[in-house]
């Protein structure tokens, strides 16, 4: 394993120190591992807090700023944050209008955020949660921990963040966040595994002619292994999974997201295939993102996330945003 790190133990805080240097619009509490927008708390505005394991950059810290999150709590690599972080962040962004926790549906994230929320509630802060669970590779049944939260997190953070910026009340922000999640689906594919620094070697092995379908973002193996194939076929497999779960129709927002080790040129190749697929089903691709947004360390591969837009969601998507990872309109 070769990585640009000082040590496996310090990678998260070292990177936070780098974020602090690079982004004057953020206030980074390196010791407590919390990234705030400098203006937090904004009086009268619902505060948005998200968090989760590190290794998914720019998620979540890169989405802190105007029009998106007020704070992010990065855990250790692939490990959800601890309640203390979430409690501290929640207090730090509470402008009196309540705080929304945007939580990806993993047992660890759910439990740690729940514990934090309980304690914040006891201290009189109104906390609500939007649970993101968009990954169609996982069956949502009694026999699993439920669908994972992946790419739709970016959509929820952006759109709920835009609404919160207008001064909307917590219930409204929850409503729109929940709606974005309900209208979003994702599917991921890995060409090669990532390497957790503390583990020192790749999380699974893939032969030179194999890919993993239905991959998550924590280096966990996927649902099935398949032979390597042209981008067109891989994109079709991913989109078939999405379409089977939520038939494509109307205006859609599509993100083709890199897993961290895949170059942009390949993501554009995939995006061309995805766009053709969407058109073929009669839906209209009106908004898009192509790039690294929800990564999995240095894993090679991509995920595709589709959100069925409404006029309201489109308007909120287009609203100004100013974060390290997503920026337009200001």
């Amino acid at each position: 394993m070769k990585k640009l790190i000082n040590s496996a133990d310090s990678v998260v805080t070292d990177a936070l120190a780098g974020m602090a240097e690079a982004h004057p619009s953020l206030r980074v509490d390196v010791d407590n591992k919390i990234i705030y927008r400098r203006s937090a708390p904004v009086a009268g505005k619902v505060g948005l807090v998200s968090g989760g394991g590190s290794g998914h950059e720019p998620l979540h810290g890169g989405f802190v700023g105007h029009g998106m999150l007020d704070a992010a709590c990065p855990g250790e690599i692939f490990t959800s944050p601890v309640p203390d972080q979430v409690i501290e962040a929640t207090k730090g962004v509470d402008g009196g209008a309540g705080v929304l926790h945007i939580v990806k549906n993993y047992t660890g994230d759910v439990l740690n955020f729940e514990m934090a929320a309980e304690l914040c509630a006891e201290e009189g802060i109104e906390v609500a949660v939007v649970l993101v669970n968009d990954d169609v590779a996982v069956k949502d049944s009694l026999y699993t921990a439920g669908r994972r939260g992946t790419g739709a997190t970016v959509f929820v953070e952006k759109i709920a963040g835009a609404l919160a910026e207008t001064g909307a009340p917590l219930a409204e922000v929850v409503r729109v966040g929940t709606e974005v999640n309900a209208r979003s689906r994702s599917f991921g594919v890995a060409l090669s595994p990532g390497t957790v620094p503390a583990a020192g070697k790749p999380n699974f092995d893939l032969a030179d002619d194999e890919i993993e379908l239905g991959i998550g973002i924590h280096g966990e193996p996927g649902r099935t292994r398949a032979p390597a194939a042209p981008a067109r076929e891989i994109a079709r497999i991913a989109m078939d999974a999405v379409h089977a779960d939520m038939p494509l129709t109307g205006d859609v927002l599509v993100m083709v997201n890199g897993m961290g080790g895949t170059p942009l040129i390949e993501l554009y190749v995939v995006f061309a295939e995805v766009a053709a697929y969407v058109r073929d089903k009669g839906a209209t691709l009106t908004r898009s993102l192509v790039g690294n947004y929800v990564t999995s360390l240095d894993m090679q591969g991509f995920s595709v996330t589709v959100c069925a837009l409404t006029d309201e969601l489109t308007r909120l998507w287009d609203a100004p945003v100013e974060t390290p990872g997503l920026r337009w309109g200001r």
Binding site: G53, G75, E76, I77, F78, T79, S80, P81, V82, P83, D84, Y106, T107, G108, L111, N112, M115, A137, V138, K139, L142, Y143, T144, A145, R148, V196, A198, A199, N203, F204, G216, H218, G219, E220, P221, R223, T224
Partner: protein, 209 residues
């Protein structure tokens, strides 16, 4: 079993986790995200520091501090779950500094089990730490009922935990990260069940001193 005993237990767990860190992480790599060993190691390292900083004076306080520290330092699924388990045990043992009996320990473990089941929603057979914790708790209660001595009783608990952990191998996971794998989770030991067995081994080892 006095405050020294419980402190020694936690210290023994910390040692065993440090030694078994890579093994636990490898188990987690197979069906999870390759961090269970480092998660617990980070947690118990912090627990050792906390115990050293303000040595608790009662068995219950040892376990409560352990649980609280795990919740504050581990993260992931295992942090809140093990944290709750130890906190529940601590609460069950109460504030007294009297020696804990086998029956008292069994009752405390039962509380821990209930806490883990409630928080995580898992039942036995879901391929989680509950598959080791459940049988071990029952074995200890039975042994206490039968009037076995501590070493025998903790032998039985450890054996049940180990057997429970081994028995997760053929199971398909229904909770936690491994459940995403569906059928591909079959054939691997659950890392949390393995770490639970490790804790019961540590308990037995300390009792034998």
């Amino acid at each position: 079993m006095d405050v020294q005993f419980f402190t020694a237990w936690i210290e023994e767990i910390a040692r065993a986790v440090a030694d078994g860190r890579d093994h636990l992480t490898r188990l987690d790599a197979a069906i999870g995200d390759a961090d269970h060993g480092s998660n617990l190691d980070r947690g118990f390292t912090a627990v050792l520091a906390a115990l050293a900083a303000t040595p608790p004076e009662t068995p219950g306080a040892v376990l409560t501090l352990t649980g609280t520290t795990l919740i504050r330092k581990v993260g992931g699924a295992s942090g809140p779950l093990y944290g709750t388990a130890f906190r529940r045990m601590g609460a069950a043992l109460g504030q007294g500094d009297a020696d804990v009996t086998l029956a008292g320990l069994a009752a405390a473990l039962d509380e821990a089990l209930a806490g883990v089941r409630k928080l995580g929603g898992a039942t036995e057979g879901d391929k989680t730490m509950v598959d080791a914790l459940g049988p071990a708790t029952r074995a200890l209660a039975e042994a206490a009922d039968k009037g076995m001595d501590a070493e025998e009783a903790l032998d039985a608990a450890r054996d049940a935990a180990e057997e429970g952990a081994r028995a997760t191998i053929p199971l398909q996971a229904r909770k936690g990260r491994a459940s995403y794998l569906g059928e591909r989770s079959v054939g691997h030991e659950d890392p949390g069940a393995a770490s639970t067995a490790l804790m019961f081994r540590a308990l037995r080892a300390v009792a034998g001193r």
